[in-house]
Amino acid sequence: MATIDEVPPGGATGSHDDVIENPRRRDYLSIGAVAFAGVGVGVVALPLINQMSPSADVLALSTTELDLSAIEPGQAIKASFRKQPLFVRNLTPQEIEAANKVPLSDLRDPQSLAERTKEGKANWLVTLGVCTHLGCVPLGAGEGENKGPFGGYFCPCHGSAYDTAGRIRQGPAPLNLAVPDYSFTSDTTILVG
């Protein structure tokens, strides 16, 4: 501060005296300078924080196109969506019936099969293969894998069991297997993401 007094800024010499007589004006300069530096720190912090968000090449994987024509009723495939497993299952009429028979009040995370599939495509169940408990990959999509007591998926880590609509029925997982955003681009292809 003393240096400011000794070396007045260029311009009107009268302002120099004012600064000495009126310390509050000098406080204003301090607050302004610190605030300016604070804004600067904030602006620099943004890229430092945001660099940790998914990068462009990771985001580029955020849509996946899948051909469903080879999946027979009762079969399922494991695909990859955003580096996470994706289950696509062609439900049999019996499996659809089994899912529809369950009253919503019996469910931990109440959702009907219709809400989890696309209109007119109730046989196509598309879910992430990520257990909603702690992120393990449930069994049941591959040929001969344990489908658990409800005929859908079964997580070997902590025993969560999902039904034929991918809904949580038993075990520690809190939610149904997530249904990602997807749409049918033709009768037999879907675009996930």
């Binding site: 998914p54 990771v58 955003r82 580096k83 293969g129 702690l134 992120g135 880590c157 902590h158 520690p172």
Partner: protein, 434 residues
């Protein structure tokens, strides 16, 4: 800061006098861990574990820096680079086994160090700041150990990262966004591996900095001792050097023998075979377990199975973090002015029940998630919180402590500290040194 009778640093050699007047670093060391730091004369071997933890950190830093010269933090080659360290790099197997088992040794001595503090009331006034900084070090240590375990990019590495970062998705609303931000993707991948490597390299030096604060805070009031009675006069203390440099040196030798036995004869005993399978995002190991030093906390995480107001998963995460964070409040939960459990019969019983409780939690955390273990971990987790939040405050108000010795010297000369501890304190543990 030291006692008035502390020896003074008086360099005789002209070169040391020249250095002392320009940069008094030797003086600083002399006053910290040399003859200039008077220490209670009655410390037992449990007071060695701080030095051991410091030595373990230095071993981790040295082996870690050289391992980083051969390791590649890229999802495509990380696993292979670790295998190349094991097979191709000269003495690479030794360095990696030393680093992996060094982490276990570090956590083991830190746990004994923490329980030493709990038994002898080291967290009480005027040493609260020492304790608080210690809890900070413990948290940093756990973060560092977790990220280090991810680096070999085996199956346990990958699924450990998946499960641990999954904790954050339990936060309502913004949890999933935070998880994706932490990972730099939707599942653990290259971005996560790289940032974990970067932070795994950084955090040990942060720990080193906090350890310096920890020791600084300790040296303001000076070290505690097994009687919990403060130093009153010069005859209660001996200079740190040569008395405790010798004693710590002996303890360090025992530590290194145990370390060497583990490293050379059972280097994979504490690891998991699954981590020698490369990470596979599409296949989960049947039984995911963290490293042994996280088991008690993993058991608390899994103990919550029923939604109550908030989802069970969020309860589990809150309880797990809470179980460590409540240690920050311990100096104010325990109101008893008597420090050492040797003179607190009720608290001493509680202490040993807590030790058993944490061992049960540890056992359950390492066991598969079967109903019997879940119920055991629920009971043990409930008791853990009961101990700190209810029993310790009540006991510290109700308990009638046994009479304290008038001074450390009196306790030593009458054998109060020595013989009584041998009779009453720790069955099978080393008795008081003096």
């Amino acid at each position: 800061m030291s006692f008035p009778w502390a020896q003074h640093y008086a360099p005789k050699h002209p070169l040391m006098q020249w250095v002392d007047s320009r940069l008094p670093l030797p003086r600083f060391v002399y006053n910290a861990i040399g003859g200039g730091y008077p220490v209670p004369r009655n410390l037992n071997y449990f007071w060695n574990f701080g030095i051991m933890a410091g030595a373990a950190l230095m071993i981790q830093i040295v082996t870690g820096i050289v391992l980083a010269m051969h390791y590649a933090a890229n999802g495509a080659v990380a696993f292979d680079s670790v295998e190349s360290i094991m097979r191709d790099v000269n003495a690479g197997w030794f360095l990696r086994y030393a680093h992996a088992n060094g982490a276990s040794m570090f956590l083991a001595v830190v746990y004994i160090h923490i329980f030493r503090g709990l038994y002898y009331g080291s967290y009480k006034a005027p040493r609260e700041m020492v304790w608080l900084l210690g809890v900070v070090i413990f948290l940093l240590l756990m973060a560092t150990a977790f990220m280090g375990y991810v680096l070999p990019w085996g199956q346990m590495s990958f699924w450990g990262a998946q499960v641990i970062t999954g904790f954050f998705s339990a936060i309502p609303g913004i949890g999933e966004t935070i998880r994706i931000w932490l990972l730099g993707g939707y599942a653990p991948d290259n971005a996560a591996l790289n940032r974990f490597f970067s932070l795994h390299y950084l955090l040990p030096f942060v720990i080193l900095g906090v350890i310096i604060l920890h020791i600084w805070a300790l040296h303001i009031p000076g070290s505690g001792n097994p009687t919990g009675v403060e130093v009153k006069a010069e005859q209660d203390t001996v200079p740190f050097h040569p008395y405790y440099t010798a004693k710590d040196g002996f303890g360090l030798g025992v530590f290194l023998i145990v370390f060497a036995a583990l490293l050379f004869f059972a280097p994979n005993y504490l690891g998991h075979a699954d981590n020698y399978i490369p990470a596979n995002p599409l296949s989960t190991p049947a039984h995911i377990v963290p490293e042994w030093y996280f088991w008690p906390f993993y058991a608390i995480l899994r103990a919550f199975t029923v939604d109550f107001i908030i989802p069970a998963k969020l309860w589990g995460v809150l309880a797990m973090f809470g179980s460590i964070l409540l240690l920050f409040f311990l100096p104010w939960l325990d109101r008893s002015p008597v420090r050492s459990a040797n003179f607190r019969p009720m608290y001493r019983t509680l202490f040993w029940v807590l030790v058993a409780d944490v061992l049960v939690l540890g056992f359950c955390g390492g066991a598969p998630a079967e109903p019997a273990y879940i119920i055991a971990s629920q009971i043990a987790a409930a008791y853990y919180f009961l101990h700190f939040l209810v029993l310790v405050p009540i006991v510290s108000a109700l308990e009638r402590p046994r009479p304290l010795p008038n001074s450390i010297t009196e306790a030593v000369l009458e054998g109060k500290s020595g013989s009584r501890m041998r009779e009453t304190a720790v069955t099978g543990a080393p008795a008081a040194a003096e």
